[in-house]
Amino acid sequence: MTYHHQRPPIRVPNLDYLFDRLPTLRAHRFGHDHEGEGEGVTTDVDEDVLAQFREEAEQLHERLAHEHGVFVVEFLGSTGSGKTRLIERLIERAPEDESIGVIVGDVAGDDDASRFRELGVEVANVNTGKECHLDPTFLEEGLDQLDLAALDTLYIENVGNMVCPADFPLGAEARILVVSTTEGDDVVGKHPLLFQACDAAVVNKIDIAEAVNADVEAMTADVNEVNPNMPTFETSAEHGDGLDDLSTYVQEIRDGGHHRDHGHGHSHGHAHDHDDESHHHSHDHGHDHSHDEDHSHDHEHADHDHPPATEDE
């Protein structure tokens, strides 16, 4: 293996425009000094590698949603945030005749896949080995193991990781980011880009928030700071709190055909309109803060509202 540290680029930022205008000079600076090779040309490429991944995701969306009529929801979040449990809960709530598949991404092992198999759904386990996220190629590997024509719904559980998946959409109609109180209530501010790349957020394990000294309200307020109007659900996947709301949200996306339009704003607007009407957890927090000082009545309402039970339904 050879590294080329012996020729560090000499960067003189103020003179860059000169080099840019003089390709010969530029090539001379960068090229080898072998006889006859001193001259060179710079060829524009201007290709966005991440855009390629986004295009691959669009193709996946086209194939899954439009050719096969499969509704795809992706779950992301740290290892241990509760992605598997949440998907299990959604599967349990599904109508009998809904045909469900799950693609499970894990660096190694079959543990999550086994749990889903016990629920009687189609499961494809994808071990990513040294990669820390699912990319469209890994997803293809999972899709090959499933009968797409027979599926109504596909859940994708990404590898437990809150950094890399941000740049790798998988063509799902909704990307749902799961964080939990055990990750610390500052977890949202640490991962702003992933929140901005997702459609909805779940703050899970609210049942043990007090035990781990996490401020759930601060977490949802942070979500609203980092990504305003992001539908946010406070849940305990273990005990069932908040799951009706989450399930309704997923159902609304399915019914409304709110196709995720990667990187563009149109679908976001629609999703948020629905959110404002029916799931006002994160919305409430914003108001609570401003009303606390002047209106004690509002404050009482907010308190009633707070354990995000199923009163919306």
């Binding site: 293996m1 050879t2 590294y3 080329h4 020729r7 680029p9 010969t24 530029r26 090539a27 960068f30 090229g31 080898h32 006859g36 090779e37 001259e39 060179g40 040309v41 710079t42 060829t43 524009d44 490429v45 201007d46 290709e47 966005d48 590698v49 991440l50 855009a51 390629q52 040294k130 990669e131 820390c132 996220h133 990319d135 950094v163 890399c164 941000a166 740049d167 790798f168 500052d186 949202v188 501010g189 640490k190 702003p192 880009l193 901005q196 942070d222 700071e225 980092v226 990504n227 305003p228 109007n229 992001m230 990187g263 563009h264 704003g265 976001h268 948020h272």
Partner: protein, 121 residues
Amino acid sequence: MHEMSIADSMIDIAKRTAADNDADRITGLTVAVGEATHVNPDQLRHALEVMADGTLAEGAEITMETIDAEASCECGWSGEPPTVDGAAMIAPTSKCPECGSRTELTRGDECRLESISVPED
């Protein structure tokens, strides 16, 4: 660590571009990384060096540039995305500083192979 797969794609694109230009060697790669991606420029440089080994881009000089993030809002605001000074760190937000609604990134979420340099013959 997805810098490796990005580097792999970039070397592929570079080789294709070289072939289109009848070049049998690549002496330079200019790469631009958006601020609003999770791509680590230092790791990408290293990954490119490793992936270039044994190809016609072996030893190519790698120049890294940064693409500043820019966002715009439906209310008409546009500019550098504001940051929120949270407990953990200063984080970019997609909250419009003018109206508080959600902004969309217009720049800075890309990772480009800008150009390659090839010997002139």
